[in-house]
Amino acid sequence: MSKLAPIMRLSGISKNFGATHALKDVDFSCRPGSIHAILGENGAGKSTLIKIMSGVLKPTSGNLYIDGREASLQSPTQAASKGVVCIFQELSLVPDLSVAENIFLDSPPKKWGMIDRKKQRVAAQALLARIKCEDIDPSELVKDLSLSRRQMVEIAKALGKKPKVLILDEATSALSSQDVETIYDLLEDLKCEGVSSLFISHKMQEVDRLCDTLSVFRNGQHIETFAKGERSDEEIVKLMIGRSVDAQYPDKRPLIKRETQLSISDLKWGGELQGVTLKLGKGEILGLGGLDGQGQKELLLALFGVLRGVEGKVEIDGRAMTMRSPASAKTSPTNFALVPEDRKTEGLMLEMSIADNLMIASLASISNGPFVSSTKERDAVAKGIKKLQIKVGSAKHPVSTLSGGNQQKVVIAKWLQTNPNIVLLNDPTRGIDVGTKQEIYKLIHELAEQGKSVLLYSTDYAELIGCCDRVAIMYEGKISAELEGDEVSEAAILSAALNIGDVLEDEKRETFNA
C-alpha cells in the first residue's frame, strides 16, 4: 500500500433510515493513485457509503475529510467541485438531451455567455475517444442509445468533471467485454495520474485483475481492508458472508417429489429472457437467485401478463396458458399473484386507505353486482389484517402511515384475498426489519403447506437458503444452475451467481455446469 496521505477519509460515519442502520460507525479512507475495491453482499451498506461520499445522502453522524480538511457535502454538484465524482447505477442522464449536452450538463463550455455547442461537441468527442467510444455520436440523444452505451456516456460525463476520487458503482455490469477492457485501461491510466478509484463490483475476476486494495463491508460495517493477494478468494467470500445461517427461518421442509404445477419452457422476451426453462412443483417454494438484472424480474412480469411479445410455453397443470394482462393472470384458470418489485409505486396506492389497498385486487369477491358490500368488505379487511398481524390503528388510515414492513404485509395480504394458486414474489423482504421478515417467511411456508406454489426472487442469498426448497440461479437471461437440498449453500449460490465456480470447494463444481 502506498504511504501517501488519504485523499478522502471517513471517520465514524453512521447512517440510519428510520430504525434500520445502513452504516454503523464506519472508518474508511482511500489514497491517491490506487484502485480500491469495495466488496460486500447486497445490503452490506456499499451503496449508502458511496452516496454519502458523493453528496447524495448526508450521514446521520460522523465526519468526512477531503485532502485532510473536513468537508460537508450538500449535493452531488458540491462533491464534484471538490473532485469526488460518482458514476451511479441509476443513470443520472437526461434522456431527451444529446450525448454532448449530457456530458457537460451543468458546466458547458461558453462563448459570449452562451453554450458553445461546437466546442462542447468537440470536447465530448475527445472524452468519448478517451474511453474508445468513437462510435457514439455526441449529437445523438441519450434515449436512443443502448443501455451499455449510456453507461459509457455516464463514464465520460464523470471524466469531464476531472475527478480526484472516481467512484464506480457496478459500472461494468451493463458493459460488453470490450468496453470493460477499455475501462480497465482507463482506470490504470487514472491510477498513474494519481486519481483514487473506488470500484464496486460483484465480479471477483474483475477485482482480482484490477484492484490493488480491497475493503469488505458486511451489515453496514467496515470489516477489513487489505492489499490484493493478502487473502484468498475463499477467505474473501467468507468475510463477505460472515454470519452463519441462523434460526430466523422456519424449519427446513423435507424434500419430496411433487407433481409439477407450473412448467415454463424456453421462455424468451427481448434481450432479457434468453430461453428460460423451469418447473415449479405444487406446494413447492422455489427460490430465484443470481446477480441483480439477470432477467429474474422480467420472468415474473412475463408470467403475470405484463410483457408483450413473450415467446415460449407456459403450462399450468399440464395445460398451455397465455397471460395477456394481470387482470387475466390473476383469475382462473391461471390464478397468479405477483408481489411486485417496488411496493411504493407498483404495489400500493400510498394515499389510499389500508382497507382499499387490501381489497383492490379482489373487489369481485366482496361485491354484489357492481356494488361493494360494506359488510363483506369489513369482514374481509378484518380477516386480512388479523391473518397477517398487520399493526394498524384503523383500516381507514392511508397505507402510507404504516411502516415499510407492514406496508409489504398489506401487499401480500392483498394477494391472499384472491386465493391464488401460484404466488410470484419479487424481493419481498427488501428494506424490511428482521421481525417482519420472519413473519413473511413463516407466511410463505404456510402458503406452501396449503398447496400453493411459490416462486421467490430474492437478492438476499441467506433468504434463498433459509426459505426455499430449491433454488434456481439466473445468469444472462437463463437458468444457469439449479440447487436443491444440501447443495443449497451461500457459497454455492454466490459462486454460481458470480460465475466463479472454480475458486470454491471442488465437490460442488458439477452443479455449476448444470
Partner: protein, 349 residues
C-alpha cells in the same frame, strides 16, 4: 460530406415531429399560393402573416411551460391584458409610443413572473395556478378596457402591418425607392417581427444553462437534480418568458387592430389554440422534447388551414371541424407507438 449527411439525418430523426410539420407547412403553403389568384405576391404574404402574429407569439409563450411538463392556461389572458394595456398607452409622441410599448411588454413579463412564483414557491400545479391567474389577467384587462376600442398610433399600425417599403416610407429613414433597397423592400414587416423576436430570443435562451435546465426538468427532473442544475431558476425563467412572448402577441394585436378588446372567450380560444399549435409543432406535452420554433410552425400551420377555407370557398363554418379532426389525427398517429410498447409497465410512467 458524408459527415454532414449523417448529421442532417440525425437532426431530422431527432426532430421528426418538427420536420414533418415544417414539410407539411411548406407544401401546403406552396399549394395555397398556386391556388390563390394572387399567389406568391407580397400582398398575400403580408395579409397572411398579419393574421398569424398573435397566435404565433402565444404559441411560443405556451411552449416554455409545456417543455417543463406543465401547462400555462393564462397565455391567452396575458396576451389580452397586454393588448388592452397597449390600446391605452401606445399613442402620442414617439417617445410616449416607445415607452408605452415597453410598459406593455413589461406588464406581460411581470405577469409571467407572478405565474412562476406561484408555481415554484406556492407549489400549486401549473395548470390550476394559471387557470386562476388567467382570470386575474382578464379581470385587469377588463378593468383597463371595459369596452373594446382604443387609440393606437395609426402610423405605427400602418408601418408595422405592411412591407418594409411602407415602414421606411412612413418614418422616412431613408429613400424607400433606393435601388439597393428594392430587392428586400417587399418583405412583410410582420414576418420580420416574428422571425427576429422568436429566433433572437429563443435560440440564445436555449443555449444557456437555464434553457437547458428547462429541457432537463421536462425530460427527467430527478436527473436534472442529480446533476445539480438550477431547477427553481429555470421554472421562473420559463414562466416569465412565457409572459413576455404572450405580451408580444398582445402588443402586435393592438397595433394591427389599433384597438384593445378584453374578450374572455377570445382569450380562451387563444390559449387552447396555443396548446394545439405547440403539439402540432412537435413539442411533447409530457415535456423535454420540442421547441419554440416548432410552435411557430405549428401556429402557422393552424392559420394556413384557415386561409384554405377562403380560397377554396369552403364554408368557413367547417373550419373548427377540420382543425379539430386534424389535431385528433395528428396526435393519434403520434400515439400509435404506445400500442407496441413491449413492457406495459412502461406506459404508466
Amino acid at each position: 460530406m458524408p459527415e454532414l449527411k449523417k448529421n442532417m439525418r440525425l437532426l431530422i430523426s431527432q426532430n421528426i415531429g418538427f420536420t414533418a410539420a415544417t414539410i407539411i407547412l411548406v407544401v401546403l403553403w406552396l399549394l395555397y399560393n398556386f391556388l390563390h389568384p394572387r399567389g406568391f405576391s407580397s400582398a398575400v404574404l403580408i395579409q397572411n402573416t398579419n393574421e398569424s402574429v398573435a397566435i404565433v407569439f402565444v404559441a411560443i409563450a405556451q411552449t416554455l411551460p409545456v417543455l417543463l411538463g406543465g401547462l400555462d392556461l393564462s397565455v391567452g389572458a396575458v396576451m389580452t391584458l397586454a393588448n388592452c394595456v397597449a390600446s391605452v398607452l401606445v399613442s402620442g409622441t414617439p417617445f410616449q409610443i416607445i415607452l408605452g410599448m415597453m410598459i406593455t411588454l413589461l406588464t406581460g413579463t411581470a405577469f409571467g413572473l407572478l405565474n412562476g412564483l406561484v408555481v415554484v414557491y406556492g407549489r400549486i400545479q401549473p395548470i390550476i395556478a394559471t387557470l386562476a391567474t388567467g382570470s386575474i389577467a382578464i379581470g385587469l384587462a377588463l378593468f383597463i378596457r371595459p369596452q373594446p376600442g382604443g387609440d393606437v398610433d395609426g402610423d405605427l399600425g400602418w408601418a408595422l402591418t405592411n412591407d418594409l417599403y411602407e415602414l421606411v416610407a412612413t418614418y422616412g429613414w431613408w429613400d424607400a425607392d433606393a435601388g439597393w433597397f428594392a430587392p428586400i423592400s417587399w418583405f412583410p414587416v410582420p414576418l420580420l417581427i416574428i422571425l427576429v423576436i422568436s429566433f433572437g430570443i429563443w435560440i440564445p435562451f436555449k443555449r444557456t444553462i437555464t434553457g437547458r435546465t428547462v429541457y432537463a426538468i421536462g425530460s427527467s427532473e430527478s436527473a436534472a437534480f442529480m446533476s445539480g442544475l438550477p431547477i427553481d431558476r429555470a421554472k421562473l425563467a420559463a414562466f416569465t418568458l412565457a409572459g413576455f412572448f404572450a405580451a408580444c402577441g398582445g402588443l402586435y394585436l393592438a397595433i394591427q387592430t389599433s384597438s384593445g378588446n378584453a374578450d374572455i372567450s377570445q382569450a380562451g380560444s387563444y390559449t387552447l389554440n396555443s396548446i394545439a399549435a405547440v403539439v402540432l409543432g412537435g413539442t411533447s406535452l409530457l415535456g423535454g422534447i420540442g421547441g419554440a420554433i416548432g410552435s411557430l410552425v405549428g401556429a402557422l400551420l393552424l392559420r394556413l388551414l384557415a386561409f384554405y377555407f377562403r380560397i377554396l370557398s369552403i364554408d368557413p363554418l367547417l373550419q373548427p371541424l377540420i382543425e379539430g379532426v386534424v389535431l385528433l389525427v395528428a396526435v393519434s398517429l403520434g400515439a400509435l407507438r404506445t400500442l407496441q410498447t413491449k413492457n406495459r409497465l412502461r406506459l404508466f410512467r
